[in-house]
Chain length 293, copies 2
C-alpha cells in the first residue's frame, strides 16, 4: 500500500460523497447553499472522515456503509470552524487561504451556514444504510455527544473563556481533548461500530484516535508558530495574537515536539492487536505529525 495514494483516494471518495450530500448551490435559497458549499468544499485535509473509513477497514468492514457518517463528521468540523471564526468568537479573516465564511457571505449567513451544516450532519447520519439500525442510532448518539457541551462545544467554551488569562496544563489538555479529540474519537468509533467491530477492536481504535487527535493538535499548535503562511492558508501567529492556550506556549517548541512524538507512539501501540489491515492507520500517525499544513 502506498500511503499517499491511498490517502488521496479516500479523500476523493469523501469529497464525492460530500458533493452528493450537500444541496446544490442553486437550490433555494441559494445564498445559504453557496455559503455551505464554500465552507465545506474549499479545501481541508478530510482527516476525520478518512479516519472513519480507515477504522472500518481495520475491522474488515465495507467503507461504503460508513460514508454518510464520515461526511457528517466533516460537516460538523466545517460548522465548528465557521462559528469559531465569527467576530464574536476568534474573529479570524482567513481560513484555508481564503476569506472566512462571514467575510465572504456576511455574519448572518455564516451563523446560519454553520447551523445548516450541523443540522445536515445529523440528516446525513440518518441516511446511513447497510448497518444495523441499532448501530446507526448508537453512532448518532455518540456523534451528538462528541459535538456537544461535553465534547467539541465544551472545548470551545473553555478555549474562548481562557484566551485572556494564563492557562495551566489541565485546562490546555481539556481544551485539546474536547475541541479536537472528541471528533477524532467519534470518527474512529463511528467507522468501527458501523463496520461491526468487536469490543476489543472498538476499545483499541478509540484509544488510537485519542492519541492521534492529541498528536494532530500539538502539531497544529506548532504550525501556528513554525508553519509557512502560504502552505497552512492562514496567518502564522494567530494563536499568540488571540492569546490561545497552546502546547508550545506551555512546553516550548522542543517540549511540544516531544509531546507529539509521545502521542504518536501511544497511538501506534494502541493498534497492537491489528495486522496489516491497520497499516494505513499506522502511516496516518506519521503523516499527522510530519505534515507541513
Amino acid at each position: 500500500m502506498n500511503f499517499k495514494t491511498e490517502l488521496t483516494r479516500k479523500a476523493k471518495q469523501v469529497d464525492q460523497a460530500l458533493q452528493s450530500f450537500l444541496p446544490p448551490e442553486d437550490a433555494y435559497p441559494p445564498l445559504i447553499h453557496q455559503a455551505v458549499r464554500y465552507s465545506v468544499l474549499g479545501g481541508g485535509k478530510r482527516l476525520r472522515p478518512v479516519l472513519a473509513l480507515a477504522s472500518a477497514e481495520a475491522v474488515g468492514g465495507d467503507t461504503a456503509i460508513v460514508l454518510p457518517a464520515a461526511c457528517s463528521l466533516e460537516m460538523i468540523h466545517a460548522y465548528s470552524l465557521i462559528h469559531d471564526d465569527l467576530p464574536a468568537m476568534d474573529n479570524d479573516d482567513f481560513r484555508r487561504g481564503r476569506p472566512t465564511c462571514h467575510k465572504a457571505f456576511g455574519e448572518a449567513a455564516a451563523i446560519l451556514a454553520g447551523d445548516a451544516l450541523l443540522t445536515l450532519a445529523f440528516g446525513t447520519l440518518a441516511k446511513s444504510d447497510g448497518a444495523a439500525p441499532e448501530c446507526i442510532i448508537k453512532v448518532i448518539g455518540e456523534v451528538a455527544f462528541a459535538a456537544g457541551t461535553k465534547g467539541l462545544i465544551g472545548g470551545q467554551v473553555v478555549d474562548t473563556l481562557s484566551s485572556d488569562e494564563d492557562t495551566d496544563v489541565l485546562t490546555l489538555e481539556y481544551i485539546h481533548s474536547h475541541k479536537t479529540g472528541a471528533l477524532y474519537r467519534a470518527a474512529a468509533r463511528a467507522g468501527a461500530i458501523l463496520a461491526g467491530a468487536s469490543h476489543a477492536q472498538l476499545a483499541a481504535l478509540t484509544e488510537y484516535a485519542e492519541h492521534l487527535g492529541m498528536a494532530f493538535q500539538i502539531k497544529d499548535d506548532m504550525l501556528d508558530i513554525e508553519g509557512d503562511e502560504k502552505v497552512i492558508g492562514k496567518p502564522v501567529g494567530s494563536d499568540q495574537k488571540n492569546k490561545k492556550a497552546t502546547y508550545p506556549a506551555l512546553y516550548g517548541i522542543a517540549g511540544a515536539r516531544e509531546k507529539a512524538t509521545q502521542a504518536a507512539r501511544s497511538a501506534l501501540a494502541a493498534l497492537e492487536l491489528f495486522g496489516g489491515e491497520a497499516d494505513f492507520l499506522r502511516s496516518l500517525v506519521q503523516y499527522v505529525i510530519n505534515r507541513d499544513f
Copy 2:
C-alpha cells in the same frame, strides 16, 4: 376532557423531561449549561412538544415513547430563537419578558448555546426508546430536514434577506411555512410515526399540523401589533421595526384574522377521520388563534 388542564399537564410533562435531558447548570463548563437552561426553561408555550405528544395520543400511542422527540423539537425551537435574536440577525434585546441569551451571557456564549441545543436535540432523539429503531431513524431524518435549509433555516435566510424590501405574498408564505410550519409538521409527524400511525393517520396529522402552524404564525404576527407587551414578553411592533414580512402588513388586520380563521377551519377538517381521541388537537386549534401571548 378539560383542555386547559390537559394542556398544563402535557406542558409539565415536557418541562420535567427537559429538566432531565438538559445537563445541570453546574456541569463543566458551567457557563454554557447556564445559558442553555436559561433559554429553554425560561418560559415558552411548549406547543411543538405538546403537538408531538397529542399526535401520538390521537393514534392510540404511548406518549412516554415520544417524550425525547418532543423535547428535541423544543430544543431546536429554543436554539433558533437564540440565534435569531443575535445582533447579526434580528438584534433583539428581550424575549419572554427577560433579556435575550446574548444580552444575558454575551454573544459568544449565545452562539455556542444555540449550537449546543441543536446538537443536544439530536442526541436526545437518539435516546428515543420503545419505538422501532427504523422509526427512530426516520424521525431523526425528518427532524433534520425540517430544521435544515429546506425548512426552518431556509425560512430564516429568506426572512433575514427580505427584511429591508417589500415582500410579496409568495415570499411571506415561504417564510412562514418554513420558519414555523416545518417544525409543527415535524412535531406531529414525529409523534405519529413513533406511535405507529397508519399512512392515512400520518397524512391527516401532517395536513393538520401545516394548517395549525400557519394559524399560529398569523396570530403571532397579529400579537406583534395588537398584543400587550407585558403579556407577550417582548416589545410590540418589533416586526415593523425590523421591517419583517407579516400577514397584517400584507392583508391588514381584518384580512389576517380571516386568514387565521381559514387556516383553523382547514386544520379541523384534516382531523375528520379521528374520533374523540383527537379532541385535544381540536381544542388546540382554538387555543392557538385565541391566545393573547
